[in-house]
């Protein structure tokens, strides 16, 4: 592992640059899912790298490159949000909704055979998930996208978001609970769910 001391050597510097550029795909995907627009996502990634090159000396180890890059992405993204805060925005009291969600139980999921008949179900679900992600509070959204799209481990997310792992777990739990309830609600409203409480499909459980 190249440490801070070795960072001064050209080879180690190359190794850091390589590790930073190795995060490019994940950062871009994450940026896209945070913003939902290709051009703006590219700008966000570009600004992230710009800041990263400037702060290269802050790096202490190669293993820390990924969370460090995501931390810069987060601060850049949050700065951007602050700049755009004057724009009109859909206001949802997500805290209140999540509190209500905690008391709800999802309906029974459709059975596998029914689902196969619905060709576009995945697409519809994906659209609904994208909308639901956009409604999440920033911290929950960042934790979720970093984990699901950036493929960061919980430890890496805690470093990137500068919070304890317990907080990461809590944010991910709330975010994904929100998504599954939104998905279930959507499925029910569209009539995809066969309401047969108690007649669950045993094969659906993780072995």
């Amino acid at each position: 592992m190249a440490d801070r001391k070795n960072l001064m050597s050209g080879n180690a510097n190359d190794a850091y640059a390589e590790a930073m550029l190795g995060c490019f795909e994940a950062l871009y995907r994450t940026a896209f899912r945070l913003i939902g627009n290709k051009s703006q996502a590219e700008d966000l990634v570009q600004e992230t790298y710009l800041r990263a090159w400037r702060s290269l000396t802050q790096l202490h180890s190669l293993s820390g490159v990924r969370p460090w890059m995501f931390r810069i992405l987060r601060t850049t993204f949050v700065d951007q949000l602050r700049r755009e805060s004057s724009r009109p925005k859909l206001v949802i009291d997500i805290e209140k909704m999540l509190a209500a969600v905690d008391k709800l139980s999802p309906p029974e999921i459709f059975n596998v055979r029914d689902r196969d008949k619905l060709d576009h179900l995945d697409e519809l679900f994906d659209q609904e998930i994208v909308s639901a992600i956009a409604e999440l509070p920033d911290e929950e959204r960042l934790a979720l996208v970093f984990q699901a799209v950036g493929n960061l481990t919980y430890r890496e997310i805690s470093e990137a978001l500068e919070c304890p792992i317990g907080t990461v777990m809590s944010r991910l739990h709330r975010a994904k609970r929100w998504l599954r309830l939104r998905l279930a609600e959507y499925a029910e409203n569209c009539g995809f769910i066969r309401s047969t409480p108690g007649k669950e499909d045993q094969s659906g459980a993780k072995a």
């Binding site: 001064m8 050209g10 640059a17 139980s105 999802p106 777990m169």
Partner: protein, 263 residues
């Protein structure tokens, strides 16, 4: 192993799915799911969400072809080509910096020497007269003084007393970083301080004229200064004599040193 409540199990579902639980908690969640239809419903919806997130991950449009190259160009663009050049050549930069520092040091030393003023010698001579820098050897014996100087500064030119003056003594010191020998001549209440050095003292600042014999003359803080080089030794006289008397005395001493050189 303690059994989990539904609430506890549901809080851990996401971490269980992401393989982020330790083996004990993971087993507890698994056992709870095996026994609890309500939590299995949560689990299946979670799997649905995870599958959707996975698809979203795979359906992100490709970035522009030049984005990656734009990112790699930034270090050079940001810090400038010159900085990037040196960053890429740390050793060369280190050696170059060291060389520059040394050159700067030598330049400062040289400029100090060549830029030094006769004032340094004038002030030193005043200190001797005030006895703040006392003579180390008091002797009017020229041979004894010469021998002592040779021991102190490794050379000892023969200096004839200016007419009417007697040798009082000698001392050695460092002025402007150079070892210098000092001889004091006295006549009544008048004194002539004579400095001898291997470094030329004619290159100092503070002279305002030169005699026909090539003796540099100057006045500093009310005292007369004269300097000349003879062979490998440089001489500098300081005195409170009048200018004419001093020039005469300096010419006499200088002639003696040049003559001794020829002998």
């Amino acid at each position: 192993m303690p059994k989990l409540s539904c609430q506890e199990a549901q809080v851990l579902l996401e971490a269980f799915h992401d393989n982020e639980l330790d083996s004990v908690n993971s087993l507890s969640v698994q056992e709870h799911l095996d026994d609890c239809p309500e939590c299995r419903r949560h689990w299946r919806w979670l799997c649905e969400v995870e599958a959707s997130l996975q698809r979203l991950n795979e359906t992100v449009p490709s970035p522009s072809l030049d984005l990656r190259s734009r990112l790699t160009r930034h270090p050079v663009r940001q810090s400038g080509r010159l900085v990037a050049f040196f960053r890429a050549r740390k050793k060369l930069t280190g050696v170059a910096s060291l060389g520059l520092l040394l050159a700067l040091g030598v330049f400062i030393m040289l400029s100090e020497r060549t830029g030094a003023d006769v004032m340094l010698f004038v002030r030193d001579s005043v200190e001797v007269v005030r006895n703040a820098a006392p003579l180390e050897l008091r002797s009017s014996n020229a041979e004894e003084v010469e021998q002592w100087l040779r021991q102190q500064i490794a050379f000892a030119p023969t200096i004839r007393n200016p007419s009417g003056f007697r040798l009082v003594g000698a001392r050695s010191c460092h002025i402007n970083g150079e070892p210098v020998g000092f001889l004091l001549f006295e006549r009544d209440s008048q004194r002539i301080a004579c400095y001898v050095s291997r470094s030329s003292m004619t290159a100092l600042h503070g002279y305002d004229g030169t005699t026909t014999e090539g003796i540099k003359l100057g006045t500093c803080e009310g005292r007369q200064v004269a300097a000349w080089d003879a062979g490998y030794v440089s001489y500098l006289l300081v005195s409170d004599l009048t200018k004419d008397a001093f020039v005469a005395a300096a010419s006499e001493v200088a002639a003696g040193t040049i003559r001794s050189l020829k002998e």
